[in-house]
């Protein structure tokens, strides 16, 4: 760690991991409710648990992005953070607001929560991923502004690199697009239309910039490849992301009442969205192959490569699968969508946050560059456990989805929704088993922070040195 203020990243990372555990526990709950309908009823209904699962995911990823930015920006700008105190204050505000919101979901019926928080003054609740009470949303905006100020001023006052500028553009875009969460028109078509401006333009737009810049940072640090080369890749990747991703939003406008030309625009542009993800994969492997040094933190390199591969599979391949309008006509809102949502979110955003944590945490905990060998071996086990589990979750959901689409929408005499759900229950059971394996992987991951702490740091074998 080169700058003292980078230390503020640590609480953000710890909170992220803590909320991650919560997210997975609720995932297991809803996974079980899929097959045992009255499990935990009436204490925790499916809709509430699902909301907790997805909101925790978003919130912990945001914690992860902020932590990553607080660690990355001082090092890139070659100066201390403008205000470490503000960063810590915002950490607590965000954590408390997040916790209160989750408690609100769990303890009060949703409509009651809406009433309590004065939703009628500025109605914004009730839409997937954006379920937070309006006051929480306002809190998120305040935290985001303070965060952007802190990080932005640090960049502006210090050395400006492509990596930190791309990160800053991504984070600013994240905050600006969130403002559409406050726009909630009565017209249902418009509501859906702008809802996607948040959801789609996040994950297939500005978040990809964040992903690209963090990946570039970790690769610069661990491979020692010339910054110039890496920056060039970054330019091309973000240009492609924006060209394809912005109009690619159209792949959500096929059947919501928007004009027909969206079927063309959406299909053509989103069909090309896998390209930047593919470039990222080529980029990551290329850089590691051309590495000038062997960084002792092998786990971080593994996470970085894993991110590139899994993001391509989850977003690129599984996204392409159902993105052309004639295909989406059948698959829209089926388990195919859920399969893709899981692998893409895990492969791109969960993994990039874990990559950054893996790289930064040893330094944040006072080590030179890496954890002990024993700790890294355990971390790599957790990598494989979680990654293989998510692959299985995806495959089972894809299987469920194909059957669902066929039985319910494609076959000569289509069956009703619930009848089909009964027929594919086996896949849901298998998904639940894979989910348990995922939890074991996550616990292994956490354990890796506590083993081998007293042992010497991993070093690169002597023959490779000097």
């Amino acid at each position: 760690m080169q700058y003292k203020s980078q230390a503020v990243a640590k609480p953000y990372f710890i909170a992220a991991i803590g909320l991650f555990v919560g997210q997975i526990l609720f995932g297991l709950i809803i996974g079980l409710q899929y097959v045992i309908g009255d499990f935990l009823f009436p204490e925790i209904p499916f809709n509430v648990a699902r909301m907790v699962h997805t909101n925790l995911l978003i919130v912990w990823l945001l914690f992860g992005f902020m932590g990553a930015a607080y660690y990355l920006v001082p090092e890139e700008a070659e100066r201390e953070l403008v205000s470490p105190g503000l960063a810590i204050l915002m950490f607590w505000i965000f954590l408390v607001a997040g916790a209160l919101t989750i408690l609100g979901y769990l303890l009060v019926p949703y409509s009651g929560l809406a009433e309590m928080t004065g939703n009628s003054l500025l109605p914004t609740m009730g839409r997937e991923f954006l379920e937070q009470p309006t006051i929480t949303k306002i809190g998120i905006v305040i935290v985001a502004l303070a965060f952007l100020f802190n990080v932005g001023m640090t960049v502006l006052k210090g050395r400006k690199t492509v990596v930190s500028l791309v990160l800053l553009i991504g984070l600013t875009g994240l905050a600006l697009l969130f403002l559409f969460a406050f726009y909630n028109p009565d017209n249902l078509v418009k509501d859906k239309f702008y809802w996607w401006w948040v959801v789609h333009l996040w994950v297939e737009g500005v978040w990809e910039l964040i992903l690209g810049s963090i990946l570039a940072f970790v690769l610069i640090k661990t491979t020692g490849v010339d910054r110039e080369v890496i920056e060039k890749w970054l330019y091309v990747i973000i240009a492609m992301t924006l060209i394809t991703g912005i109009i690619g939003t159209g792949h959500h406008f096929y059947w919501i009442g928007t004009p027909e030309y969206w079927q063309w625009w959406g299909s053509i542009f989103s069909a090309l969205e896998p390209i930047p993800f593919f470039m990222m994969t080529v980029f990551a492997f290329n850089m590691v192959n051309r590495r000038r040094r062997n960084h002792p933190n092998k786990a971080a390199v593994l996470w970085a490569l894993g991110t590139a591969v899994m993001a391509f599979l989850g977003a690129g391949v599984w996204g392409f699968l159902h993105t052309l309008s004639p295909v989406n006509y059948y698959t829209h809102g089926s388990q195919i969508t859920a399969a893709h949502g899981h692998m893409a979110f895990y492969g791109a955003y969960v993994m990039i946050v874990l990559t950054m944590i893996s790289y930064a945490m040893p330094m944040l905990r006072g080590r030179e560059a890496a954890n002990s060998n024993r700790s890294q071996v355990l971390e790599m086990w957790s990598f494989w456990l979680m990654t293989v589990s998510i692959v299985f979750i995806t495959l089972f959901l894809t299987g469920a989805g194909i059957l669902q689409v066929y039985l319910q929408r494609y076959s000569a005499d289509p069956l009703p929704f619930m009848v089909v759900q009964d027929k594919i229950a086996l896949f849901y059971w298998m998904r639940e088993v894979a989910g348990v394996m995922f939890l074991i992987g996550l616990l292994t991951y956490i354990a890796s922070f506590f083993v081998g702490g007293k042992e010497p740091e991993a070093v690169v074998a002597a023959t490779e040195g000097a």
């Binding site: 091309v236 492609m240 030309y261 090309l272």
Partner: protein, 199 residues
């Protein structure tokens, strides 16, 4: 003479493994070309199912305007070539002049194309009018945006040349901008016959 000869060799005699300009722009060019290729194929295959409709409304397009525009883009490309040659010779002022001339031709394109659009919009035509106009407007407008971007890139090159920023040893920037511009031209060369002429 010596410096230019080495350089001339690089671009004319001894084959290089990489195209002129920054490799990043070439990757970008390929990606852009791919988008247009998909769009062209989509046009052709959709037309297959609506041949009459496409033929009927294609007749309403202004081919004379398209001719002027094709000539404008080709001329711009030729000017860009001259700008590159000037830069290779280390003549910044000349490079800037040719590049500005190319930008002016780009402006001609924008004006003519805007007039065409104005004409269509007056007639109440929009993306929802029919499938032919949907494709015509989408394709040409997407290309229109590329012309603008190409002009912006060329302007950056021209300004740098005016400041004396290139030399016969270092003029990759000029070639980078030139390559992008030629791509814009190239796309139009297929778009024009496909949308305005082939029936």
């Amino acid at each position: 003479m010596n410096a230019t000869d080495t350089d001339g060799q690089r671009s004319n005699e001894v084959a290089s493994a990489y195209p002129p300009g920054d490799l990043a722009i070439w990757i970008f060019i390929l990606a852009e070309l791919l988008v247009f290729a998909v769009f062209f194929a989509a046009y052709a295959f959709t037309r297959m199912n609506h041949v009459e409709l496409f033929n009927q409304y294609q007749a309403t397009l202004n081919r004379d305007a398209a001719l002027i525009n094709t000539i404008a883009l080709l001329t711009a490309s030729y000017f860009v070539v001259r700008g590159v040659v000037a830069a290779r010779e280390g003549d910044n002022a000349l490079c800037a002049r040719w590049t500005w001339a190319a930008i002016a031709m780009g402006a001609v394109f924008l004006v003519v194309k805007s007039a065409e659009y104005a004409h269509h919009f007056e007639a109440g035509i929009n993306l929802r009018t029919n499938t032919f106009y949907m494709f015509y407007l989408s394709l040409t407008f997407f290309h229109f945006l590329h012309v603008i971007l190409g002009m912006v890139i060329l302007a950056a090159v021209a300004l740098k040349a005016q400041r004396g920023g290139y030399s016969s040893a270092d003029h990759t920037g000029v070639e980078t901008g030139a390559s992008y511009w030629h791509m814009v031209d190239l796309v139009w060369l297929v778009l024009f016959p496909l949308v305005y002429v082939m029936r």
